[in-house]
Amino acid sequence: MNDATLVRKNLFRKRLRAVLLMISILIAFLIYGMLGAMQNAFSMGTEGAAQDRLVTVNRINFTVALPYAYWGRIQQVEGVRTVAPASWFGGYYQEPQNFVQSFAVDPESYIEAYPELVFQEDQRLAFIEGRTCAAVGQALATQYGWTVGERIPLMSNIWQQQDGSQAWELDICAIFDDADGTYPTNYLMLHYEYFNESLLFGRDSFHWIAITTEDTSQNDRISREIDELFANSPAETSTTTEAAFNAAFMEQFGNIGLILTWVIGAAFATILMIVGTTMVMAVNERTREIAVLKTLGFTAPRIFRMVLWEALLLSFIGGLIGLGLAALAAQGASAALAGFLPSFGLTWTNALTAIAFMVALGLITGILPAWNAMRVRISEALGKV
């Protein structure tokens, strides 16, 4: 036996009470974990390589197209390494509700610009070679159960072919994944040439152009030069880092971060109150025992620490279980949501922040009862003058 035994025994003195408190704490951390995972999904693509890559869109708005010729002209700008143009395809599979995020790209330049995409070498070559080929992200392939070699008709809700059809027949030649799980793989790419040649309207134009540079420290200058190149033309451009572009796009949904913060705040305010008052009550109930410990020679600081550890232990048991459940649930949810919110999952940063919250929760709820315990006066608590 040691002090830890006493802490544990005190915590579980009323087993039901301890379990109920743990459930409330567990729930708060479960909510924290799930919302954290959701926030990760939303802020996706604003980190890593996206900070170095540039993206050029029409200055009016990213939904307005750019002329085909810009591809070649941007290539001429000094310091530009690769230029990868792309168009929205607006795809759906079988039913209009089955939205498939899809772009028409120039395969070779696109794969070069996005080195974080991982291909099997033979599949990569097949995708680049085959005019009717499509490359499908792992998450999307899982969602629809698509495999390499399959032929699918992909409908577009934007485009029409000259023959009036809106379906493009695609061969799935490659399934790609991302290098480290931080990039979405919930989309499909098809050949721009194959897409463009049969279009009824809107031919020879792109919606955005992804650019990588020789030296990222030159990015500011290169962005400026690209935009100057097309100034005063009918299609002026706006060039920013991909991260800034993505962040601005997410921003349009409203302040999701703020809403999530409010909810997490409410959840934690709830457990702070519940755990805080219960701890005070629990310690008050055993004033007499604390007085006995003091009589035996336990010093006030030692008693203070024991109560504080009790609160911390409570916070950690509830918190770690909640966080663990959140991680499991996030894993489950990420499969279900793959097409909608890519890479829904917890990061180490989330986990460490959660642990910091557990420490804070333990300290805040423990400090008052610990202080009360420390100040118990033996002669009063033992009930005699």
């Binding site: 109920l20 607006g90 409203g254 709830t270 519940i274 805080g276 009550m281």
Partner: protein
């Protein structure tokens, strides 16, 4: 029995102030649960009210088949001509068919709250455009002149975005425009738009003579069938015909569902947390009164009154919690203006709406928490052994 129960219940409720810490915690934690639920519901119903309010049953909207959203649709001049002679469409006093060909493009606005750019819909409409919005009202200024770069802006745009005061010169895309009027459509989704004449948009955005949608005022809601039949039997038309209400209900569904799918599970999870808290508080309450309850038993009271008294305490506390949460949400959020990206890739401005229906649901949730949280402790109160009279 009733007398006993009333007596024990009153005795119990009167002693709440002695346990104010735990009682207050119960009330506040339940209030937070209800607050979170109502916050999400207010967001969802505000959004739905805005989008649904736009759709009327006697306006038909026609899009290219499979387009789903206006943004993706494309209708040629020839198709519009065919629609002008379609059946079921009401006529103006001058005898013209009441239809409006429309085309919208996306323009950047600056959101006041965050100072960040956001997409706005710049809609070009035909002469009869306003007739398609029954609640249309010009609040300030005048309508745009056909053929000139003049704008009328929705009230919500003016409220949420910078630089759209009457008389302001605004740069959208590559062109300068003048704001000549402000309109309202009674808080519907169109209040989040900027309007000008169709020809101006076609011209400045190089769209030739094509449009995205055709709206038509129907002679009656049932006339849509005649129109739909006409479109389906005309081989030169590949269009989808929907009532405007059906169209907006379809496009609002996703966002509203997303908000509700997030809101309810969160509220339920938090309710379980608060349930544990309430349970705990009720146990403490019963514990604190063990001796009192045993004494009552000793002098002849039954166990049932003790059970009812504890349940009443739990439900009263929960009810207050629900009420506090609902009132706080209403004060904090009702009418708060927000905007998000709608299905057309443009901003939809809406106001949080705390509805009576949502308040009732919130208070019911609170009382369920109180009931479940109080049940087991109340059972315990009913079973306190007589010997506890001597409890320390």
């Amino acid at each position: 029995m009733l007398k006993q129960t009333t007596a024990v219940t009153l005795l119990n409720l009167r002693s709440i102030p002695q346990r104010w810490g735990m009682s207050l915690t119960t009330v506040l934690s339940i209030a937070l649960v209800v607050g979170v639920l109502l916050g999400f519901m207010a967001m969802a119903s505000g959004f739905r009210a805005t989008v649904d309010g736009a759709g009327s049953d006697d306006v038909a909207i026609m899009l290219r088949g499979g387009a789903m959203a206006e943004m993706n649709s494309n209708i040629s001049r020839d198709e519009v001509r065919l629609l002008e002679v379609a059946p079921g469409i009401a006529a103006s006093p001058e005898g013209e068919p009441l239809i409006s060909s429309e085309l919208y493009v996306v323009a950047d606005g600056i959101r006041r709250a965050s100072q960040t750019p956001a997409n706005l819909a710049l809609r070009g409409l035909g002469l009869h455009g306003p007739d398609m919005r029954p609640q249309f009202d010009l609040v300030e200024g005048r309508m745009f002149e056909p053929g000139s770069a003049e704008l009328v802006v929705g009230e919500s745009v003016q409220r949420e975005f910078e630089g759209f005061a009457l008389g302001d010169s605004v740069r959208l895309g590559n062109n300068n425009w003048t704001v000549v009027g402000v309109f309202s459509t009674g808080g519907s989704v169109f209040d989040s738009e900027i309007w000008t004449e169709l020809g101006v948009v076609q011209n400045l955005y190089q769209r030739g003579s094509s449009v995205q949608t055709v709206r038509a005022r129907l002679t009656s809601p049932d006339a849509i069938e005649a129109l739909r039949e006409y479109v389906e039997n005309e081989p030169r038309l590949n269009l989808e015909v929907l009532s405007e209400r059906a169209y907006f209900a379809r496009s609002a569904g996703g966002t509203t569902n997303l908000i509700m799918f997030l809101g309810w599970p969160l509220a339920i999870a938090m309710a379980i947390g608060a349930l544990a808290g309430a349970w705990n508080a009720m146990y403490a309450s019963v514990d604190a009164r063990t001796r009192e309850l045993a004494t009552l038993r000793a002098i002849g009271f039954g166990g049932f009154p003790a059970f009812i008294a504890a349940m009443v305490e739990a439900i009263v506390l929960a009810f207050f919690g629900g009420l506090v949460g609902a009132v706080a949400t209403w004060i904090l959020f009702d009418g708060v203006s927000a905007s998000t990206l709608g299905s057309g890739f443009t901003q939809i401005v809406f106001a949080f709406a705390v509805t009576p229906d949502a308040v009732v649901q919130g208070v019911i949730l609170a009382m369920i928490v109180g009931f479940l949280g109080g049940f087991v402790p109340a059972m315990r109160a009913a079973r306190i052994p007589l010997l506890a009279v001597h409890a320390d």
